[in-house]
């Protein structure tokens, strides 16, 4: 909310869209317009909304399960579409709502009741995937760093195009060890890159707790469509014999 006030948008000009999960309850906590849809589909809903209402500030929010697992396909294609919105993923590397199952970002050796000894799967790198899919603004924030996070949200909202912000969000209940991120999270040493390959390499090679913008490149949005050039009467005439 502080980010919105910095950006200067009143609540009624903002739409917060979410899917399902702990993080997806967010729209109900604000005075903005909002939509709490089905699991994994916050992004396509936001795309449809923003396409007809470019005047609104559209923010899609969700968690790692919502965005990277059930909604993974929409994540990739939203990055490609480059619709002007912010996508904020609160990543706690666990399914908290269903009480502790491994998500795509969970480490492969993390022990849980459903996957004793771990899933054995490599974890998903959201930043690298978002970059490879074509996102033009890719950053990582941390809820334990509220000032830095607010700045990233403001930057993401103001960015002209699809802005993807991965937010490290420890789950104190099912991943208590994530509380330790507080001591280890740090600002990235490198400035944002404008070269996609470099940014992907950074996302793959740097440690997982580096905060800041990885990639930023403005790109023209929306292919220019011709203005309204037809009327319904013109269309109907085309069927006349």
């Amino acid at each position: 909310m502080e980010a919105f006030s910095i950006v200067g948008r009143p609540p009624h000009e903002i739409a917060i869209v979410s899917g399902i999960g702990c993080s997806s309850r967010l729209p109900a906590y604000t005075k903005c317009y909002g939509f709490h849809g089905v699991h994994g589909r916050a992004l396509p809903f936001s795309v449809g909304l923003k396409m007809v209402r470019p005047d609104l500030e559209v923010v899609a929010v969700g968690g790692d399960g919502d965005g990277y697992s059930i909604g993974g396909n929409h994540f990739m294609h939203a990055c490609r579409r480059n619709i002007d919105m912010l996508y904020l993923v609160m990543d706690n590397r666990v399914y908290g709502m269903t009480k502790g199952q491994p998500s795509p970002t969970t480490e492969g050796d993390w022990d849980s009741q459903i996957a004793p000894g771990g899933t054995g799967l490599p974890s998903f790198n959201p930043l690298a995937v978002g970059l490879a899919a074509g996102a033009n603004f890719v950053a990582r924030g941390y809820v334990g760093d509220p000032i830095g996070l607010t700045n990233l949200i403001v930057e993401g909202i103001q960015f002209k195009g699809f802005a993807f912000l991965e937010v490290l969000s420890p789950c104190a209940i099912f991943r208590p060890e994530e509380i330790g991120w507080k001591a280890r999270a740090h600002s990235r040493k490198k400035p944002p890159s404008a070269d996609r390959a470099t940014a992907i390499a950074d996302a793959l090679n740097e440690d997982e707790l580096g905060l800041g913008v990885f990639f930023r490149r403005e790109q023209a949005i929306d292919v220019k469509r011709e203005k309204s050039t037809l009327t319904l009467a013109d269309i109907e005439r085309s069927f006349e014999i």
Binding site: P10, A15, A28, G34, F35, G40, V47, R53
Partner: protein, 578 residues
């Protein structure tokens, strides 16, 4: 002697251009003032495989396919056998086949139709020309059959020119030559099938898919998100450029899940929005239909039904998505399901779907099918349009505004995002009047009742359906089964056994009172539908909308009902086509 109607099949392997031949023939007839309809029949492959254009011409309106085709034109025999058994011919039919077209399809030979071999290729064409430009037997065939039924050279040339568009001069010249050869060859034939004089009028030539799209544009749809699927793709391909030139937007979603959620997003934003799909796509969208019901967001879904289950038969029709459309999804999620009654009615039903969705804040599913959707038909113009309706957006006083208020009117205002003071959150979770998710029993019951009341109070007026005739036997049907049902009823009535046909435009909520009124005085009621499980029959019977002894005629697609088949089911198989 002239005839009042003729039915012709143009068939050939992929690339032979059977569809183009049919389209030129139909177009020329339409320009000459005849009524006509062309449907499409495909073999195993949707494109590049064998195909047939089934064309009927008449001096009066046509809707149903005939029991038997009069003429069959084989541009080549190729793999025609793979669908030949699906094209009814009799010993009265005549088959014209290309001289170098290969071995005659056994199923066609078995019909005892008269076989006449015709030289369809210009013998002066060199091998190189044939290879480069094709044999153009299809254009020959259009000219040939067009002339046999009495269409003028002028109308055929105009139809060819319209079909070619802006093709290069040498292509145009080659096609004109093939057309002229076909016309000349017809004049050498001893048979002819001259149609009686036409009765020209102000009419349209339109497909069912185009007609539904046009209707929804009339209704105000300005956002479409969809994923390509046969047989709905041609609807969207026609719609896309038109919608964008009207100032609307069309998005190709990454899948059907995305498409329906994009539709909800656009609709939440205040724009009437639609998706277009077929059975498999509708299956994928079901979860979000429940969301649209729960959050009360308007949405129009067009389902151009095809053979199911699973991938089924993409290119052919079936009426087997009734259960899915009416009941699909978990929980109690009442929605509105309607179905066009003819190609012409696709315009009205499409437009109405948008008004209903907007006024009732509900998903509306429109059940069309492949036969209706891909039929290209000459239709009579009507000025009859459904009464316009829009969504309620005036929230009144922001201080007392409750998005999901429980009160006398179950339809509650949904202010447009961006309006100060009314910020509300649509939610698929059970929510209270002010959009807060709750799990209390009383709130759940109240909101469920609000949504159920909204649908139960939907008043379709005279658009619920239609009743034709007044016999004491009634056929109840919907969609593309109505045309053959009406033709069967017409024949039986003419033979002294009056049959009435009751067509449903509204499937859900079932128009029980209207249906009962339409069935008053009947002794026998038969529900006709194209699916094995008798979905419509069981649905209506379960609601006690039918007499307890009502009968069912239900069979799988993909072959459309023939009027004689329906008459036979009713126990009058000796009543033949007039």
């Amino acid at each position: 002697m002239t005839r009042s109607s003729i039915s012709v099949v143009f068939a050939g392997s992929g690339g032979a251009g059977a569809m183009t031949a049919g389209a030129i023939f139909l177009q020329a007839a339409a320009r000459s003032g005849y009524y006509g309809m062309m449907t499409q029949l495909f073999g195993a492959q949707v494109r590049g495989g064998e195909a047939a254009a089934l064309v009927q011409l008449s001096i009066g309106p046509i809707e149903a396919q005939p029991d038997c085709y009069d003429l069959f034109v084989a541009l080549d025999w190729g793999k025609i056998e793979s669908f030949a058994p699906e094209i009814p011919l009799s010993e009265k039919s005549i088959v014209y086949h290309a001289k170098d077209g290969g071995a005659i399809a056994p199923s066609i030979a078995k019909t005892k139709a008269r076989m006449i071999e015709i030289e369809m290729t210009d013998p002066q064409m060199t091998a190189l020309e044939r290879a480069l430009r094709g044999k153009r037997v299809n254009i020959f065939a259009a000219g040939f059959v067009g002339t046999l039924v009495g269409l003028s050279e002028k109308s055929l040339k105009e139809a060819l020119a319209a079909s070619l568009g802006r093709k290069k001069a040498d292509v145009v010249a080659g096609n004109e030559k093939a057309l002229a050869a076909g016309i000349a060859a017809a004049k050498r034939q001893t048979e002819n099938f001259l149609l009686a004089e036409a009765n020209p009028g102000k009419r349209w030539l339109i497909t069912g898919n185009q007609a539904i799209a046009l209707g929804t544009l009339r209704g105000g749809v300005r956002f479409v998100a969809c994923y390509p699927i046969t047989p709905a793709t041609d609807l969207v391909e026609w719609l896309s450029p038109v919608l964008q030139k009207l100032g609307g937007k069309l998005v190709l979603g990454e899948d059907e899940l995305a498409s329906i959620n994009m539709v909800l997003g656009a609709s939440f934003g205040g724009t009437p929005a639609m998706t277009v799909t077929s059975g498999p796509g509708l299956s994928l969208m079901i979860e979000t239909i429940g969301l649209a019901v729960a959050a009360e967001v308007p949405a129009v879904l067009i389902d151009v039904m095809r053979g199911g289950p699973s991938t089924g038969i993409p290119s052919k029709m079936e009426q087997s998505d009734i259960n899915l459309a009416v009941y699909g999804g978990h929980g109690d999620a009442p929605r509105i399901v309607i179905a066009p009654m003819s190609v012409a009615d696709c315009i009205c039903t499409g437009e109405w779907a948008v008004y209903i969705a907007e006024a009732h804040q509900t998903p509306v599913i429109v059940l069309s099918d492949q036969l209706l959707g891909q039929a290209n038909e000459v239709i009579e113009l009507t000025s009859k349009r459904p009464a316009a309706a829009t969504r309620r957006t005036d929230g009144g006083d922001p201080k007392t505004f409750k998005r999901y208020a429980i009160g006398p009117d179950p339809v509650t205002p949904m202010p447009r995002p961006g309006t100060p003071g009314f910020g509300w959150v649509g939610d698929g979770l059970t929510h209270n009047e002010i959009c807060v998710p709750v799990s209390s029993a009383s709130v759940h019951a109240a909101q469920m009742k609000k949504r159920a009341d909204k649908i139960a109070r939907f008043e379709p007026g005279e658009l619920w359906g239609e009743c034709w005739g007044n016999g004491d036997t009634a056929i109840v049907a919907f969609g593309s089964s109505l045309a053959p049902a009406r033709e069967a009823a017409r024949r039986l009535t003419a033979a002294g056994r009056p049959v009435r046909v009751v067509g449903l435009r509204v499937i859900s909520p079932a128009p029980i009172a209207q249906l009962k009124k339409a069935l008053a005085g009947t002794k026998r009621v038969v529900v006709l539908e194209q699916n094995l499980g008798a979905q419509l029959y069981h649905y209506l019977l379960g609601l006690k909308a039918l007499p307890a002894d009502a009968e069912s005629i239900a069979r799988t697609g993909p072959l459309p009902f023939r009027p004689a088949e329906i008459a036979a089911h009713l126990g009058h198989d000796h009543v033949n086509s007039s």
